[in-house]
Every structure is written in C-alpha cells, then in structure tokens.
C-alpha cells in the first residue's frame, strides 16, 4: 500500500496507540474527580499540556484541548466574535481557508457580521498588502491559515502578524493544522493570538486538537458545562487521546529534525516528474510551499476517476480536501487562484509524511504514467 493522503489523516504511530490504550485502561479516571484515580488522570493531563507547550515553545497555560481542528477553528472565530462584538463587526479571512473556517464565517455573516475574503495570487498565496487594504476601523479579527490544505502554499503568517500588531484591537487567528511538524513557525514572533492544531494530522488520534490562546486573550466559550479548560471548553477531557497527542507531537517533531530533508527530496522528485508529463498541470508553487503537499490536474479526466484508478493499484491519494471531496464542486482554493473550473475539477492532491520513501514515489510516478495512458485509450 502506498498512502499519499496524509493531509486527510495520518496513520497513528504504534507508540501513540500504545499510550492511548494504556491510559484508557489503567488511568481511566475523570481528572475532575477528587480521589486518587482522578488525581492520576489530572497529572497525566498536566504532563501532556506541559509537553505540548514545551514542544511549541509557548506557556502551558496557553494550551487548550479541544476535539480537533474544526472545533478549534469554531471556538477561535465564534468565541472571538461573541466576546468582542463590541469592538466592531468586520472580520478578514482568505478565500482559501478550510471549510471549518469558511463555513464558520458564513454563519457569522448570517448573524450580521461583515466578512472580507481576501483573494490569493496565482500561486495560492495572499499578500500582506491585500490584508492591509481590507482592514477597517470595524475589523476585530483576522484569520489566516498557515499552510493551505489543498495545494500546500505557505501564507506570510509572520508578516501579517506584524501588520496586525499595529492594530491593537484586532485578534489574529492562524489555522496551523497543515503546517505543524512540517513548516516551522514561532507563535510569539508571528504575534499570533489564537492557533489551531489537530492531532490526527500528525499521527495522533481523531477527536483531539489544541487551540493555543495567547495569555491575556479572552474568548466566549462555545460549550457550557463543567468549566474544564479554564472555563473555555467544558466537557470531560479526553485524557487518553490528549496523552497520545502529546506523544505524537514529540515523535513528529523529532522526525522533522531527522527526515525533513528526505521528505523534501521525495517531494521535489515528484514535482519534477509530474511537471515533465504531458497533460499534467502542477498547481503547487515552487517556492513558499510546504514540503508535503502537491496538487496537480490530469487534464481531461475527472479527478474522481483518477483517484479510483490509482486505488486499483493500492495507491491512495485524494481529490481535494477530504472534508469537501464528497461534494462534486471544484476545489475552492484552485478556483480562487484562477485555475479554470475544468482543470480544478480534475485536480488531485498527494500529501506525504516522513514515512514515505523515494521508492514509493517512483512506483507512484510509474502508476500515474500508466494510468494516464490507459485512461486516454479508454476516453478516445
């Protein structure tokens, strides 16, 4: 099996599963319980929080556990809107965000907020100038993703952070679900107020995420209840998943230190080979791109056909982002970049992780060539 769909989800590391099972069975207590079993669970939670904070180079009191990327994005955006609606009614985001940001914005729009969706350039990158132009005296939130999930373009997070810093009432949210463990980013240096992470994108488990909330930033909680997570997110903590996530992050960042160069060389090889092929258009930019995502169109074929054809060879890739791939619509990022709708509908995404090898890449390239030829025969 060749699994090239790591931006949809990753396979949990074995060590991560071991932790999950051990914590679930041996330390099953509710961290809020007074007795010793609860106390143990609470200590695990604390260690996990400290470890994650340390790995991200932030304070442990700034790490809030959630159920994943979607919840973190919802909490960041709606929590800010509810808390700070008196600061203004205008929000800025980009036209290439993940659905959990985009749809949240739509919902807020229905509630009377104004939302500006800044368009990217042809490489899928938004410019600081465009963001600056969009800022009004009513703007209280800017939300920009770090690494685009569909084509892998890297947004100028640090530069936007410097811009936002000049406007003291604006809160700055960064969706870093695709960037973590792949593209380094200093939270403080980039002046980030809120930052989203999701465990299952770095070999942790589904159902766990983090929202970084910078010290001093206040949000209105979306879940009311037992006041867990310093009242920001009620609900009994998923201790096993959180411990597993802390471990997954450690291993992933370790792997990044050791294998980032290899990952890059696999990606570069794939990019070069794909660019050589006739009838294939690569959408991922050459620079300002993450080391693990490549998006390309096989002209003339619906992406879905291509995905299934590769699947017959035990190779797994995706059409666009997994969350929107079941809809027939073209990738919103590609459309925003100005890719013709027809090409956007034949876009395929491959997304790598540190386990993927050069050999797999070679098999993949051969399979693409063979599949393209075969399909061309059929379609003639």
């Amino acid at each position: 099996m060749i699994y090239f769909d790591n931006s949809a989800t990753t396979k949990p590391y074995k060590e991560v599963l071991d932790s999950y099972i051990k914590v679930s069975s041996d330390f099953f207590g509710n961290p809020s319980s007074l007795h010793g079993i609860g106390g143990q669970a609470e200590r695990l939670l604390m260690h996990a929080r400290e470890q994650i904070a340390q790995l991200l180079d932030v304070r442990h009191s700034e790490i809030y556990f959630t159920s994943g990327g979607t919840e973190s994005n919802n909490l960041a955006i709606k929590g800010t809107a509810l808390m700070h609606r008196n600061r203004g009614r205008h929000i800025i985001t980009t036209a290439i965000e993940h659905a959990s940001v985009r749809e949240t914005m739509e919902q807020l729009r229905e509630l009377g907020f104004r939302v500006t969706f800044v368009q990217p350039d042809r490489r899928g990158i938004v410019s600081v100038e465009e963001i600056e132009k969009a800022i009004t005296s009513e703007t209280f939130l800017v939300s920009v993703m770090h690494v685009n999930n569909e084509i892998g373009s890297i947004q100028p997070i640090k530069e936007i952070g410097q811009l936002v810093k000049k406007h003291s009432k604006i809160i700055y949210h960064v969706d870093n679900v695709q960037g973590i463990g792949k593209v380094p980013m200093d939270f403080y240096e980039a002046n980030i107020d809120l930052c989203t992470l999701s465990a299952h994108k770095f070999h942790g488990l589904k159902g766990n995420g983090v929202l970084f909330i910078r010290e001093g930033v206040r949000l209105s909680p979306l879940f009311s209840g037992g006041n867990q997570e310093w009242k920001q997110r009620s609900g009994t903590e998923n201790v096993a998943g959180i411990v597993a996530m802390a471990k997954a992050l450690r291993i992933t960042l370790n792997n990044k230190e050791r294998y980032l160069d290899e990952l890059l060389s696999v990606k570069n090889y794939l990019m070069e080979e794909l660019e050589k092929m006739e009838g294939i258009a690569v959408h991922t930019p050459d620079i300002h791109a993450a080391p693990h995502i490549i998006n390309f169109s096989v002209k003339g074929f619906k992406a879905e056909v291509f995905v299934h054809a590769l699947e017959e060879k035990d190779i797994y890739v995706s059409t666009t982002s997994a969350c929107s791939s079941k809809k027939a619509a073209a990738s919103s990022t590609l459309v925003a970049m100005g890719v013709p709708e027809k090409d956007a509908k034949s876009a395929v995404r491959i997304s790598l992780t540190y386990e993927n090898t050069r050999e797999e890449a070679a098999v993949f390239i051969a399979a693409v060539k063979e599949t393209v030829n075969r399909l061309r025969e059929v379609m003639k």
Partner: protein, 402 residues
C-alpha cells in the same frame, strides 16, 4: 563562519567576598555544572575574577538560556578566543560583528587592556578596530552612547577575548554558599517565593511540609512536590520533608479554644520544623509570611508564634504586597501550581474567626494541659524525606506514555 567557542562569566557579589572567594567560586562552578549536566562536552575554567565555559561544540544558545537562572552570575557574554596578533583579532571582530549586524544598526568598540605590556593603548586599539569595521561595512555608523552592537575586546596575558553581547545574569550569590535553612512550604503562593529569594542569597534550602491525611489529599501533597521540583530547577536538587501532622492537629482541635487553634497550630509547626532543622544541621527557618496578610501574620500573631524558638526566622516577603509576590511567583513559574485548588493543612481547620491579636500567655496556657513533646518526637520520627530533582515527579509508570 566564526562561532562563539566559550562563554565568559562575570561574578556578582562574589568579587567582594575576600577570603571566602574560592569557596564561592567553587559553589558557582557546581551550580553551573548542575544546570548544564546534560552537556558532557563543556569545560569550566575559573580564575579569580572570571569564569569561562568552554563549549567544545555544545549549543551556546541553549547554554546561555540556562545560565540566566544561575545565582551568583552578574552577567555573561558568549565569546571567542584568539591570539593577540592585530590582524587575527581584527578579522575575528569583523566576523563576529557581521553575525549580529543588520543595516542601520550602530556600534561601538570597548577594549580592555588587562595585559599592560600590549604595545597599543586602549584608545589606539579602539581606533584600530573601529576603523577596520567602518572600512569593511559600508554605511556603518558609530554610536558611543547607545550602540546597537557593542564589540568588546579584552586583551589579557594569555590571549584576547572578543564578544558582542552582554547578557544580564540572575545576580545573587551562588547556591549553597550561605548555609542551610528550612523552608516551611504550605503549597500557597508565598512560600515558594520566599524559598526562591532565600536561594538567591545563597542559602541551601530544604522544604518542610505538613501533611494531614485524610483532611488533606494526596493531590495537595503532590502539589508541594511539584513546587519543590520547581525550586530544584534552580539548584539541581531540593530535599523535601513531609511531616505527618494529623494526630497533632486533631489534638489541638480538642484541647484549644477554637479562636486559638490557628495560633497553637502554627506554634507546633514551628516547633517541629525547628526539630527537623536541628537534626539536619540547618541554622534558620524561612517562612512566606507577609505582614498583615492573614490573621496569623499580624505582628501580634508573629510574636505569639515566634515564642517557641530562638532560631532565626527569615521572612523574605515580610514587607511585600501580595501583587509583588504574585509577580515573582509567575516569573519563577510556581504561581500556576500554587493556585491549584486543594485543601492544605492551613485551610482545612481554619476557624470561623481566628484571633488576629492572640496573647502569648493565653496560648501558652491552653497548650499547657497536654504534653506535646512525645507527639512532636513521633511526627519528626515519621517524617518522610525525599530528594526532588527538576521534573523527577514524572512518575516512572508515566514515562513511556509520553
């Protein structure tokens, strides 16, 4: 590419410590080695007025980060050593300068000529080095008053040392250079701060905690262990004494009128701490008391409580406001542990209205009906002693989970 190969350390008040100097330097060397224990390649060279950490390829940035918390260091600078040939020194100065330089930054040269036989004097040296940089970096400007980069060149007998940065140290005196004292550690915000400040003045601090199961929980005890670990982060290790206190506390409740239980409890805690101090060769007791903060910390209370011992009681926070204390607690990272909401021995038995002006003679009278001595001896006997190290609390069974 030139890289810093050593860190030059300037002593704080050690410099004034006359004949004890060697002892102080030795203590400082030990605390540095302890915070850098996982850098096996470093070497320390100490002289009367300087210390050098030779990096031997270790990460100078990380080493610098850790040195910031070591007491007894006034300031330090990453440095390179060169021979004393003008050409080589100039080349090294330029290379170092360029590492930090960005367009628009200003500079100055500070030379120190400890080697009085060196042919050029300070002024000539400044001129030579300054000229060399100005010649090689177009558009560079000098700013003697507030330079962005201060290139420091020190010409000593054996070699020359160059550096571009001076980092403020933690000040104070080297850990353990001033004798041992027992810290009464409740788990609240104040006592860890008192411990920290005492360590800063060179005291070797051992913590004493009173544990009253089932009235206080394992979690309250764990909280104290976590706090002790944080303090251990400063010196490498801190001993914690955990005193079983339930029996005495219950007896006090039976014997002493309610509004005096708090005073009597504090007196007994002090007696027990004093006994542990004696057994462990300490010379003082440290508390986190701050004048007027709670009923037990009025001057009248302190007078009635202090009555049980002649041992010096150090109260580093005595004149501080709560907000000042909290600020330090946050800085040394104990605040968030302290505010975990578990009952400790001081909060469980708090009477509805404790005396704010207890009378010494009255409390003596109330206590006189029971002989506490055997109970004190028993509590001291049953005291659990543990040595905490930074992060040692990560339970063995947890280790592979993370």
């Amino acid at each position: 590419m030139i890289n810093y190969d050593r860190i030059l350390i300037r002593y704080g008040e050690i410099s004034t410590k006359g004949r004890n100097r060697n002892k102080f330097i030795d203590k400082l060397r030990k605390s540095i080695l302890s915070v850098l224990h996982d850098f096996p390649d470093i070497k320390i060279e100490a002289s009367r007025d300087r210390m050098y950490i030779i990096l031997n390829g270790s990460d100078g940035k990380e080493v610098s980060e850790r040195l910031k918390s070591v007491f007894g260091i006034q300031s330090f600078s990453p440095a390179v050593k060169t021979n004393k040939k003008m050409e080589e020194m100039k080349a090294a100065a330029l290379a170092l300068f360029l590492k930090d330089y960005e367009e628009g930054k200003t500079f100055k040269i500070t030379t120190k000529r400890a080697d009085k036989t060196f042919p050029l004097n300070t002024e000539e040296l400044n001129h030579e080095f300054g000229g060399h940089l100005l010649k090689n970096v177009p558009g560079l400007k000098v700013n003697v008053k507030k330079p962005d980069i201060n290139v420091q060149i020190e010409i000593r007998g054996e070699a020359a040392y160059l550096s571009c940065e001076t980092i403020q140290g933690a000040g104070g005196l080297p850990a353990g250079s001033g004798g041992k004292a027992m810290l009464m550690l409740s788990g609240g915000i104040d006592s860890p701060v008192a411990g920290y400040l005492s360590m800063k003045r060179g005291l070797d601090v051992e913590a004493v905690h009173f544990f009253s199961p089932p009235f206080t929980s394992e979690r309250a005890k764990q909280k104290v262990i976590d706090l002790t670990e944080k303090l251990a982060g400063i010196t490498g290790a801190v001993t914690l004494h955990i005193v079983p206190f339930t029996e005495i506390q219950q007896l006090i409740q039976q014997q002493v009128p309610q509004n005096y239980t708090m005073t009597a409890t504090r007196r007994l805690m002090l007696r027990i701490t004093d006994e542990i101090r004696r057994k462990n060769d300490g010379l003082a007791i440290i508390t986190g008391e701050s004048l007027g903060q709670v009923a037990s910390q009025t001057l009248e209370s302190m007078y009635a409580i202090n009555d049980v011992t002649n041992t010096p009681i150090l109260r580093p926070l005595i004149t501080m406001d709560k907000s000042e204390i909290i600020e330090i607690a946050q800085r040394i990272d104990t605040h968030d542990i302290s505010i975990r909401p578990f009952e400790d021995c001081c909060t469980v038995f708090v009477p509805a209205s404790p005396k704010t002006k207890p009378k010494r003679d009255k409390v003596r009278h109330f206590e006189s009906f029971v002989d506490f001595e055997p109970l004190i001896a028993k509590a001291v006997e049953g005291t659990e002693k543990m040595v905490t190290k930074p992060q040692s609390g990560k339970e063995e069974s947890f280790e592979d989970l993370f």
